[in-house]
């Protein structure tokens, strides 16, 4: 067997590994109760129905959890872009002492296991009154999303020639005007991708959200605690709702993710 066929087989296997569960979850989330419990299950959805989905939304707490998730992810998006983009701009445009060390340091923040940080964080958050609030969770999620936001935006700004800004300066702009009139319009698609990526990181994060909340659960945290004592249809519908936004967003911004990985590998 040639190496090419081995690679191909491995790729197919890997793809199936990822796709099959997603496919099963998706089809069963849109089937009626009977087919969710049926065994063996058919490959294709048997009876299309919104019964499972509507049951899921009917469960007490789901609506609130989705709302919390949206708030937390929205705040994370906002913080990550507002803090990450200036840092990325500085890394791209200015030569300052320790720039390279700073770049690595940013990545190192991801090397700290959240499990170690969680307990001190919970204690501190209780002291500060941030415990069990969407803002508290959003702060932790911002810490998780920020390294990527900084590195992606820095590569984004590096891709915009410095001369464009300089030309704007010679034509009468101050630094801020040049940024707003020239750099921002060109960076906007990439900034949007960064924002969406921060949103997805927050939307999918479960560990910190579980530890730092009791009543104000985000959707993943709510599902994690609710899943074990829930009926099967609820699990499928919940799983579906966890996966879908991430899949859609990552599909939309995949081009920018490649540049992110290119930078993160350096």
């Amino acid at each position: 067997m040639s190496t090419r066929t081995i690679y191909l087989a491995l790729a197919v296997l890997l793809a199936l590994w990822v796709v099959v569960p997603i496919f099963l979850i998706a089809t069963l989330a849109f089937s009626d109760r009977a087919s969710v419990f049926a065994w063996p299950k058919g490959i294709l959805p048997q009876h299309f129905s919104l019964e499972t989905i509507s049951f899921f939304f009917g469960v007490a707490g789901v609506g609130k959890a989705i709302g919390n998730s949206l708030i937390v992810a929205g705040l994370t998006l906002l913080f990550a872009v507002l803090l990450g983009a200036p840092a990325g701009y500085a890394l791209a445009r200015y030569r300052f002492a320790g720039a390279d060390a700073y770049r690595i340091l940013i990545l190192l923040t991801r090397a700290f296991p959240l499990a170690i940080l969680a307990i001190p964080l919970a204690v501190r958050f209780i002291n500060l009154g941030l415990y069990d609030t969407p803002l508290g969770v959003a702060l932790v999620h911002t810490a998780l999303a920020l390294p990527f936001a900084v590195l992606v935006t820095s590569s984004l700004f590096l891709g915009i020639p410095r001369e464009l800004e300089e030309a704007a300066w010679t034509l009468g702009c101050n630094r801020i005007q040049a940024f707003l009139k020239v750099v921002l319009p060109l960076a906007l698609p990439g900034l949007a991708a960064t924002a969406i990526f921060a949103f997805v990181i927050s939307w999918n994060e479960v560990f910190a959200a579980t530890l730092l909340t009791l009543r104000e659960r985000t959707l993943p945290a709510f599902l994690l605690t609710a899943l074990n004592d829930s009926p099967l249809p609820f699990r499928f519908a919940g799983g579906f709702f966890l996966i879908v936004p991430a899949l859609v967003f990552i599909f939309v911004i995949r081009r920018y993710l490649f540049t992110l990985w290119g930078i993160a590998n350096r």
Partner: protein, 356 residues
């Protein structure tokens, strides 16, 4: 309209001295070219005048204003960049109008100025396009039009033609010359292309290793280089330098003796002579010296000969019908009045005092 004056500019990049106390004056409406090899500091000097770099010491004046501490936007300059720096998200019209919009120009004036600049650069039919839909030459035109539209006191150009292909460069060169002669804008133009410098400039400032080594009219720079660097950098092929022994106030090439303008400090002297200023003859001539032909290169308009005089090589251009073969001995007669004498130790011209 205004002149430019820079005084004692020193610029360091880390420990490297990019500019070593440069002073330069550009008169109102003058076209000055900064010419030098890459790394000589010419672009840095231009960027300091634009306000994009800050000098460690020294002052920059535009007109009578001391602009040393001013940001680029307050200097009343316009700049054309090597990579054009045309804004990709704006149409050609908006690119040209950018500076005028920043000045909050009235709509009628803005439209008139943009159309005038676009017509000057022959891009009036491209105003609605985006830069991505333009060729390199067209983008170049947009960049120049954008700079002219704001009617700057001083126009700064950083190798504006170096990204164009050879034919287009020739065309744009002539067009730029016409345009700037018409608009009479004081212009400082950076290039490493000596032909471009010769063809465009009112005066050329030749730079080397962070200094201005000669600042004069193109023909003067060509015929009377201040030192061996200028003679070797300008002209293709470069100036020949022959090391000759000194006898009293004369230099000797075999039987030929040449009068020196002043007595040189050492026992030897360098004769600088352009390849076209040596007249080649097949037979011995008075006032000439022999040299052996090494290589004959037919270049269409003329033949380029490489010859050896004793151990020294020199280049001579002769008419295309000149019968020269390698191995042959020719008699070379230097054109009086076209000779340059230099000190072999310092490389400085004997008559030309070095500028500070």
């Amino acid at each position: 309209m205004a002149g430019i004056r820079v005084e004692n500019i020193v610029k360091l990049f880390g420990r490297v001295k990019a500019l070593n106390g440069v002073s330069l004056e550009v008169r109102d409406q003058e076209f000055v070219v900064l010419l030098g090899p890459s790394g000589c500091g010419k672009t840095t000097l231009l960027r300091i005048i634009a306000g994009l770099e800050h000098a460690e010491s020294g002052r920059v004046f535009i007109g009578d204003r001391d602009v040393t501490a001013l940001p680029p936007r307050s200097r009343k300059i316009a700049m054309v960049f090597q990579n054009y720096a045309v804004f990709p998200h704006l149409t050609v019209f908006e690119n040209i109008a950018f500076g005028l919009r920043m000045q909050k120009a009235l709509p009628e004036r803005l439209r008139a100025q943009v159309e005038r600049a676009a017509t000057l650069m022959h891009i009036e039919n491209l105003l609605e396009r985006y830069p991505a839909q333009l060729s390199g030459g067209q983008r170049q035109r947009v960049a120049v039009a954008r700079a002219l539209a704001v009617e700057p006191e001083v126009l700064l150009m950083d190798e504006p033609l170096s990204n164009l292909d050879a034919l287009l460069r020739l065309e744009m060169r002539a067009e730029l010359k016409r345009l700037l002669a018409e608009s009479r804008t004081t212009t400082l133009y950076v290039t490493h292309d000596q032909v471009e410098a010769m063809s465009l400039a009112d005066r050329i400032a030749v730079m080397n290793a962070g200094r201005v080594v000669q600042y004069d009219e193109p023909m003067k720079v060509y015929q009377e280089p201040a030192d061996t660097f200028v003679g070797g950098f300008i002209g293709s092929p470069p100036m020949n330098f022959l090391r000759l022994p000194v006898e009293g106030s004369q230099a000797r090439i075999q039987s030929l003796t040449l009068e020196l303008p002043s007595s040189p400090p050492g026992k030897d002297v360098l004769l600088g002579v352009r390849p076209e200023d040596l007249e080649a003859h097949l037979e011995p001539q008075p006032q000439s010296f022999p040299a052996r032909v090494l290589v004959v290169e037919p270049l269409g308009s003329h033949l380029l000969l490489t010859l050896a005089y004793e151990q020294q090589q020199l280049k001579v251009t002769v008419p295309p019908d000149f019968a020269a073969k390698s191995g042959q001995t020719l008699w070379l007669r230097p054109q009086p009045g076209r000779l340059r004498w230099l000190d072999p130790a310092s490389g400085q011209s004997l008559t030309h005092a070095r500028q500070a």
